[in-house]
Every structure is written in structure tokens, then in C-alpha cells.
């Protein structure tokens, strides 16, 4: 049985089950320590530290592609499940909120923001690839500038050709006034992110306004411009979603680094002043 993105359901639920079991064991352990008048936060803290270290290793794994350390997709799955486990362990460790000290609040805030960014990223990783495939114009992110430049050149050559062939500058003037803005770079970013069709309506409206002033030949060129605008719209969509898929890590990974730095500081303080 397979689910989207190639994850085996059995594997997914296996990891979730293992994480749940680990959480339950830690929980019971803390209860037993608490009953024996020990300090249960030590137990939950060490387990949480282990999990955080493990999920941080995902970043190291990506830098070591030559080592046979299981496929990256499995690491990603483990990272996601481990992230949720870390969140529950954090609640167990802190009782929901961190300490009232400055460093505890910084650590808590960083941890929550990192967790939320991770969950947002996971949701995007889950839903956006399907939408990108279904859009019908898959393109490598790094090539989008070239694709847009190529479309723009094609549009401009069609407009020049139209002017030369028909002797009318109506299409060219209209292009310079309106459509030129659209073809310069990706547009309607947020609309594409939220799946709006505003860009399509905008292009169609610009063409419809112009259509009544054009003769038959010019309309043929306008149709080709419209087709290129449609292609550009799909690339804009690719650009918007792929940008989000790449840039959420600009939040998640630096914050995760800050969390780990704070965790090590927390550990030092506890070992020096409390244990």
C-alpha cells in the first residue's frame, strides 16, 4: 500500500506508533520518578534532548549523500514524526510553558516557532507537489528566470512581427502599456499561493479590451500572445509554490540551529547549577 510521495502507510504508522510508544514510556517513567520523589523533568529532558539531536541529524544526513544512511525520504519521515514527538515531550517536560526566566522564554519561543514552521513546511511538502504536478507545466526552479525571459522574448517578437505585417501599432502599444508589466517577471505571487485565478482573469480582460480594435490578422497574433501569457501564468504558479517550498527552510533551519544552541546552554546551566 502506498500513499502519495512514495511513503508506505505501514512505515508511516510504524514510525508514529514507535514515537507514541516512546512518549508513553517516557511519560510513565516520569510518573514513577515523581512518585519516588525524584525530579521527573530530568528524565523527560534527557529524552527530549535525544530526540532533538536525532531530528537535527537530518540536516547532517543531507550533507552526507555518499553514506548509505537510508534514503532521504525516510529521514524526512523520521524527522517529521520526531518533530511531533519532540513537541509532546516538550509539553511533558515544561508543562506547556517554559520557565519564567529570560532564557527559558527565549528557548520556549524559539522551540514553538521552529515547531510551527516545521508543521507549516510539512503541510506544504505534503500538498504543493501534487498541485505543481497537476498544473501541467513542471519546471526546475532555477530555470524559471530563463523560461520567463524566453516567453517574454517570444511575445515581443510576435508583437514586432504583427506590427511589421499589419502596419498597425495597436497591439504593440497595448503591449507596452499593459502586458509588458506582466511578462517582466513572476506576477500575482500571493494569488498563485492561495490558488486564485486573478492572473488569468487579468490577462483575459486585457486581451478582451484590445480584441475589438484589432483586425483578423492582429487577432491571430493576439491569440498567440494570450497563449504565451497562459504559459507564463503556469510558470508563475510554479514559481510561487516552489519559492514557498524552498524558503520555509530559511525560517525553520536557522531557528532550529538557535534552538539547539539554547538547548546546549540549558543543559550546561542545569548540569552546573542544579544537578
Amino acid at each position: 500500500m502506498k500513499i502519495h510521495q512514495g511513503y508506505s502507510l505501514v512505515r508511516v504508522w510504524g514510525y508514529v506508533g514507535f514515537a507514541s510508544l516512546l512518549f508513553l514510556v517516557t511519560w510513565v517513567w516520569t510518573i514513577q520518578i515523581d512518585r519516588a520523589l525524584g525530579i521527573p523533568t530530568f528524565a523527560s529532558g534527557w529524552v527530549l534532548f535525544g530526540i532533538l539531536t536525532f531530528i537535527a541529524l537530518f540536516s547532517a544526513r543531507k550533507r552526507l549523500p555518499f553514506l548509505p544512511l537510508a534514503p532521504s525520504s525516510r529521514w524526512f519521515l523520521l524527522h517529521a514524526v520526531g518533530g511531533f514527538l519532540a513537541l509532546f515531550l516538550f509539553w511533558l517536560h515544561t508543562g506547556g510553558v517554559g520557565s519564567k526566566g529570560f532564557y527559558g522564554q527565549v528557548l520556549t519561543a524559539l522551540f514553538y516557532i521552529t515547531s510551527i514552521s516545521g508543521m507549516v513546511g510539512l503541510a506544504m511538502e505534503k500538498f504543493y507537489p501534487r498541485q505543481l504536478t497537476c498544473s501541467g507545466a513542471e519546471v526546475i526552479y532555477e530555470r524559471i528566470p530563463g523560461e520567463i525571459a524566453e516567453i517574454r522574448e517570444e511575445v515581443e517578437s510576435q508583437v514586432l512581427k504583427c506590427t511589421e505585417e499589419t502596419g498597425s501599432s495597436t497591439l504593440a502599444e497595448h503591449y507596452l502599456e499593459t502586458l509588458n508589466w506582466y511578462f517582466q517577471k513572476p506576477r500575482f505571487f500571493m494569488n498563485n499561493v492561495f490558488g486564485s485565478h486573478l492572473s488569468q482573469h487579468w490577462v483575459r480582460q486585457q486581451c478582451m479590451i484590445l480584441e475589438r480594435f484589432l483586425d483578423e490578422k492582429e487577432r491571430g497574433y493576439l491569440d498567440r500572445v494570450f497563449m504565451l501569457a497562459e504559459k507564463k501564468r503556469k510558470i508563475d504558479f510554479q514559481y510561487a509554490l516552489q519559492t514557498l517550498l524552498k524558503t520555509w527552510l530559511l525560517v525553520h533551519i536557522p531557528l532550529a540551529g538557535a534552538v539547539m544552541a539554547m538547548v546546549f546552554w540549558h543543559l550546561i546551566l542545569i548540569l552546573v547549577f542544579f544537578v
Binding site: 515523581d34 512518585r35 519516588a36 520523589l37 525524584g38 525530579i39 520557565s99 519564567k100 526566566g101 529570560f102 532564557y103 527559558g104 527565549v106 501541467g136 507545466a137 513542471e138 519546471v139 526546475i140 526552479y141 532555477e142 530555470r143 528566470p145 530563463g146 520567463i148 525571459a149 524566453e150 522574448e153 517582466q184 517577471k185 513572476p186 524552498k246 524558503t247 527552510l249 530559511l250 533551519i253 536557522p254 531557528l255 540551529g257 538557535a258 539547539m260 544552541a261 539554547m262 546552554w265 550546561i268 546551566l269 548540569l271 552546573v272 547549577f273 542544579f274 544537578v275
Partner: protein, 629 residues
């Protein structure tokens, strides 16, 4: 999208892991074929790098980008298609790496700066601050700061590394200020026998700091108590043993107040009924109630009925008894008394003015029989002559000779030496002493043949001192006659009917033993706090608030009419007593405290610590005198 557009022979291989990307592409122009150089410079200023082959320069433009160009390389080997350079931009990967370094660096900078710039020394923040202390600890550690509890604080990295491998010293710092009735780090601060293996405790097991104004203290659950206690049970309802037979009236009251006789007899008597309280709160201070509800003071509770009785009881220090012969040198006496016109001793048969017996106090002090005229004749007349000469001095000497500590100052307080001297002079001349007026206001006075003391009222210090003196000397080991005289004096002083020490009608007399095993009798003058159950806690005020002030007491404290309450006070052993009230049973509490109503966990009724106290001076800062400017 064209299917073969990304074919290996139609497009270049993208390397997003390289640090730079084409500057033209970043401006949404057509990117160049070569892309940026590894050092971040533009690689697209020329189309290709011509190759010298057989002395001819050949164009090496890739097939994907149109193959060799028409113009070919120049004679010097330069590409014929030149472009102005772009400004390559960093890739997302590099930006991400920089952000990681920035974020981690910011945290490290924060840690570093806070170690250098501690807020206490003018810094802004402290990254080591674990949170605000509780109000009390914040105040008392204000001067010392973190090192008040964390010994390693401010001692440098070497001490920190050492602390990692050493056990925490937090609890040791706690007992710098806190103390207990037993060992600090033993369970319940109890000194258990060595054969009982009980794990040592640490303060941080239950007490947590840095949680804000209120100290975070673990409230022990029954499971936690059960982890050490062998007698394990779930709650008061399930498994808790029955309360002990005497619960909660373990120790004898210091004041003998018979609730039965007062409630059922005296308060119903029409003579006193108008003075009787309407409810328990008439005598007990429920407004200040906690574990105990103390009774109000004597003036509120007892004075209205008993005050007049106190003033009727008197002490007879000295009574001129019948004398067999006049043994006092008249000339010396007249000289000592400075009587003008008195004559020398008249040689005629002596007839004693008194036919009374010697007072028991004097008999004890002189250690002579009070009824043997032959024996006491000489020492008593010597005493009278000494009194005529030195007033109270011979008495003070006799009293101080009875005990190790000087008691005469308290026993003879406010005794007018003139009165004593005048009475002695009269008796030396075999005359009665005529007082100038009746003694109405209490205190020492001489009257005909006696030196008396009349207490001014409740808690009279002289009367109390005589009671303590009588008890002290009567328990001392000594010769039989002397002991019997001490006991006779004690019985007279402590006589409930007319003795000045009738205080013991209400105040209990208890036998206490010192560390050597010697016992002595003491009067329990004051209300006694119940400290025999240091691990028990009960809040009367909460219960009264819920049950109401009228009948709430009688819900639990049921009068036991059968017992002889006062019989317990005939002996001096405080452990051997019965209360006026029936002991409280577990079922009484369970009327409300059950699992379905108000549940009870161990710490609601039992305290963990044994006699917790503070060691530290709570107000170390004393007011400074105003500066003299």
C-alpha cells in the same frame, strides 16, 4: 511544456548547491550559458573559451547553445561574443547557511554578553536567569544574589566544569537559612533508628524556585507517600487507620476548665446564667483560629465569676506564736527600734501576748516545728530581733538559703521594710502591732500578730512566686522533718480554699523531669500549644466557615458527661488524663471527606517537615541613626 526541453543535450545541468547564481537570471533576464565562477565573479562575459589547436583558435561554444559561432575566436584567442559582466547573487542554500550562522551567532553572542554584562552590574539582560524567585527568597537573597543558593555562581569556568561532575549543593544552601526539629536531609526530619534504611532527602525533591512570586512546592500524592511508607493506603476513606484512642486530646490542658460542670451546672445556675457565654465562640477566639482555637484570656472568660475569689486568699509569712519566755535583750531592741521613752526590761513573770501557732512558712524557713514552743522559742525571737534590726534582710537570707537561685527578690517584692520593722519591734516588746489603717488594696501588710500578703488580682507576681517556691522546695530531697514541713507549707499555700496559691484550682501542676532524671513540679501558667503532633495539621477556620459558627463545634467535639475530668489533675502526670470530650473518630471526618464529596490527600492533614524554623535573622538591616550634620 516541451517534453525534451530538459534533455541532457538540450539544457544544462542545474547545480543549486553552488554558492552563486547568475545575476542576469536574478533580474529575470536570459541567464548566460556558463553561469558564475566559483569565486562569485561573472562567467558570462564571453560565450566560450576558445581552444588553440594546430595554431588555430577554435570556438568551443556548446552544442546546446548553438554550437560554434560564425565569427569564431579573434586572432588572440578571445571569444568574439563579449558581454558586460553581471553581478552574481547568492543561492538560497548560501543564504540559508548565513541565516543559520546568524541565528546561532546571535544566541552565542547573547550568552557571551550576558556572562560579561550581568544585570546586577549594569548589564541589560541575563541569559542565565532561570526566572523570578518567590517573594520571600527574592528578598533574603537580594544582597548575595545567585550565589546565595548556587555556590558555583560567579566562580569562573573551572568551577563550572567541576560542578558538572559534583553533586548539587542546592539543598545545603537551603539549610543556611532553614532549620528543622530533626536532621535536615532525613525523611520528615525524623531521627530514625539506624536499622531503618531510609533514603536521604533533598529540598529540591519537592521545592522548586524560579517560578515567580509563589514558591512552587510539590503537593505529595498518596502514591508518593506510599513509595516510602509500609502502611500503604489510597485515601482517608480507603485504608487510613482509625484515629488513636485519645485523638485529638492527647495532652492535658494547662487550665482545668471542666466543660461538663460549666455547661451543665454553672451556666444553668440563675446566679451565673447572665454571665454565661451563648456559644463556644463566647470563650474561644474563632476569628484567630487555625489548628487550635485558643480560648480568650482570663479577663474575658473567667474574671466575671472568679475574680473576687482571688483577692480573698492570703499568705501568712509570719505569725507571732505563743512564747514561753522573753529572750530578747530589751535594751538592744529599744536601741534597734529607736523607741523614745522605752524602759529597760521589766523583771516580772512573762506572759505571751499570743496564743497562736507559728505560721507554716516561718516554721519551714526556720526549720522548726510550728507547735513545739520549747523548740521554736529561741530561733523565733532571734528572728524577730533581727527583723527589728534589719527588717526583711533575715527573711531574704532564709529564703535564699532554700534554693540554688535567689528567690527572695520575687517572693518579698514590694514588702515595705518599715512595716516589717515596726511589727517586729512591737512583738519584741510583747505587744500587738497596731496597723495605721485597714489593708484594702492588696500587697504586704502587718496586722496585729501577723505579716500577710494579699494578692491584687489574677496573675499576681508575688503570689505566683510563692506557688513556685512552695512547689520547688517541696520536691527537693532532704531530711524527713524538713520535707514534711515543706509539704505542709505547700499544702497551705496551694490550698484552693484559702491559700494564696489557690491558682492551682485552675492552673494545672505538672511534674517534669530534666535530662538527669530529676523531677520537679511546675505550674502551667499559660495556654499550652499542642506541639505533640508536629506532623498534623488541621484548619479550624475553613471548617467553621463552611459549617457556620453556631453549631459547627458540636459537630465534632461531643461532650462526654461520664468522665471525671477533674480527677486527671489530682496527679501530676499530664499523660494520664481524660478529656471532657469524646475522642474524634475517622467516621466523623468521613461525613464530608469521602471520595464522592471532599476528598482528602495525605498532606491536607499531615505536614511533611518536623518543626520547620528559620535560622537567619529576618531583619538583618537595622535602622541607622540619623547622621549628625
Amino acid at each position: 511544456m516541451e517534453e525534451n526541453k530538459f534533455g541532457h543535450d538540450q539544457s544544462q545541468y542545474e547545480r543549486p548547491n553552488l554558492p552563486y547564481r547568475c545575476g542576469r537570471a536574478s533580474l529575470w533576464q536570459t541567464p548566460c550559458n556558463q553561469g558564475p565562477e566559483a569565486d562569485g565573479t561573472c562567467g558570462g562575459v564571453r560565450e566560450c573559451t576558445p581552444f588553440l589547436k594546430n595554431d588555430r583558435w577554435e570556438c568551443r561554444r556548446d552544442k546546446r547553445f548553438g554550437g560554434p559561432c560564425e565569427d569564431g575566436p579573434g586572432p588572440g584567442g578571445e571569444c568574439s561574443i563579449q558581454r558586460p559582466p553581471c553581478a552574481p547573487r547568492s543561492t538560497l542554500r548560501v543564504i540559508r547557511g548565513r541565516l543559520v550562522v546568524l541565528a546561532v551567532g546571535a544566541i552565542l553572542a547573547l550568552i557571551g554578553s550576558s556572562l560579561v554584562l550581568d544585570p546586577r552590574f549594569g548589564g541589560v539582560i541575563s541569559i542565565s536567569d532561570a526566572g523570578p524567585l518567590s517573594k520571600s527568597h527574592a528578598k533574603f537573597t537580594e544582597k548575595e544574589g545567585c550565589s546565595a543558593c548556587h555556590g558555583v555562581h560567579g566562580k569562573g569556568p573551572v568551577a563550572w566544569i567541576k560542578a558538572v561532575f559534583d553533586n548539587s549543593d542546592l539543598s545545603i544552601h537551603c539549610v543556611n537559612c532553614h532549620s528543622f526539629g530533626g536532621p535536615s536531609f532525613k525523611a520528615h526530619n525524623a531521627s530514625l533508628s539506624p536499622d531503618r534504611k531510609v533514603q536521604d532527602t533533598q529540598c529540591i525533591m519537592c521545592h522548586r524556585e524560579h517560578s515567580g512570586p509563589t514558591m512552587s512546592t510539590r503537593f505529595l500524592t498518596p502514591e508518593q507517600c506510599n513509595s516510602c511508607h509500609k502502611n500503604q493506603f489510597e485515601s482517608l476513606e480507603h485504608g487510613h487507620p482509625e484515629f488513636s484512642e485519645k485523638f485529638p486530646y492527647f495532652s492535658r490542658n494547662s487550665v482545668k476548665f471542666d466543660h461538663s460542670s460549666h455547661l451543665k451546672k454553672h451556666f444553668d445556675n440563675p446566679k451565673f446564667s447572665d454571665k454565661a457565654p451563648g456559644a463556644c465562640s463566647g470563650c474561644h477566639m474563632i476569628t484567630l483560629s487555625d489548628q487550635e482555637i485558643r480560648p480568650e484570656g482570663y479577663e474575658v472568660v473567667c474574671a466575671s465569676c472568679h475574680d473576687s475569689q482571688i483577692k480573698k486568699k492570703e499568705l501568712i509569712l509570719l505569725r507571732l506564736p505563743e512564747l514561753a519566755q522573753d529572750l530578747i535583750d530589751r535594751k538592744s531592741l529599744v536601741q534597734a527600734c529607736n523607741f523614745p521613752g522605752s524602759h529597760a526590761k521589766v523583771e516580772e513573770e512573762f506572759l505571751s501576748i499570743s496564743t497562736e501557732q507559728l505560721a507554716l512558712v516561718t516554721a519551714f524557713l526556720l526549720n522548726i516545728p510550728e507547735d513545739d514552743l520549747e523548740t521554736y522559742d529561741q530561733p523565733l525571737q532571734d528572728l524577730i530581733f533581727s527583723m527589728a534590726e534589719d527588717s526583711y534582710a533575715p527573711f531574704a537570707e532564709l529564703i535564699d538559703g532554700q534554693s540554688e537561685n535567689s528567690m527572695s527578690e520575687n517572693l518579698l517584692a514590694s514588702l515595705n521594710p518599715e512595716v516589717l520593722k515596726r511589727a517586729a519591734c512591737s512583738w519584741g516588746l510583747n505587744q500587738e502591732y497596731e496597723p495605721p489603717a485597714e489593708a484594702r488594696f492588696g500587697g504586704w501588710y502587718a496586722d496585729m500578730l501577723e505579716i500577710r500578703y494579699k494578692p491584687a488580682g489574677h496573675a499576681d507576681p508575688v503570689a505566683k512566686s510563692w506557688v513556685e517556691f512552695a512547689l520547688a522546695v517541696s520536691t527537693k530531697q532532704g531530711e524527713e522533718d524538713r520535707a514534711s514541713r515543706a509539704i505542709a507549707m505547700r499544702e497551705q499555700i496551694l490550698s484552693v480554699k484559702d491559700g494564696v496559691g489557690g491558682c492551682v484550682k485552675c492552673h494545672a501542676v505538672t511534674e517534669v523531669k530534666n535530662s538527669k532524671g530529676d523531677s520537679r513540679l511546675v505550674v502551667e501558667w499559660n495556654y499550652k500549644n499542642d506541639d505533640e503532633r508536629p506532623y498534623m495539621r488541621y484548619k479550624h477556620d475553613n471548617h467553621i466557615e463552611i459549617l457556620g459558627t453556631k453549631r459547627s463545634c458540636a459537630n465534632c467535639h461531643i461532650l462526654n458527661k461520664e468522665v471525671d475530668y477533674m480527677a486527671s489533675y489530682k496527679e501530676y502526670d499530664p499523660g494520664n488524663w481524660v478529656s471532657n470530650f469524646e475522642s474524634i473518630r475517622k467516621k466523623t471526618c468521613m461525613q464530608c471527606h469521602s471520595e464522592t464529596q471532599i476528598n482528602l490527600e495525605c498532606q491536607r492533614c499531615h505536614m511533611y517537615h518536623f518543626k520547620p524554623r528559620f535560622k537567619k535573622d529576618m531583619l538583618p538591616v537595622k535602622a541607622e541613626p540619623p547622621s549628625s550634620t
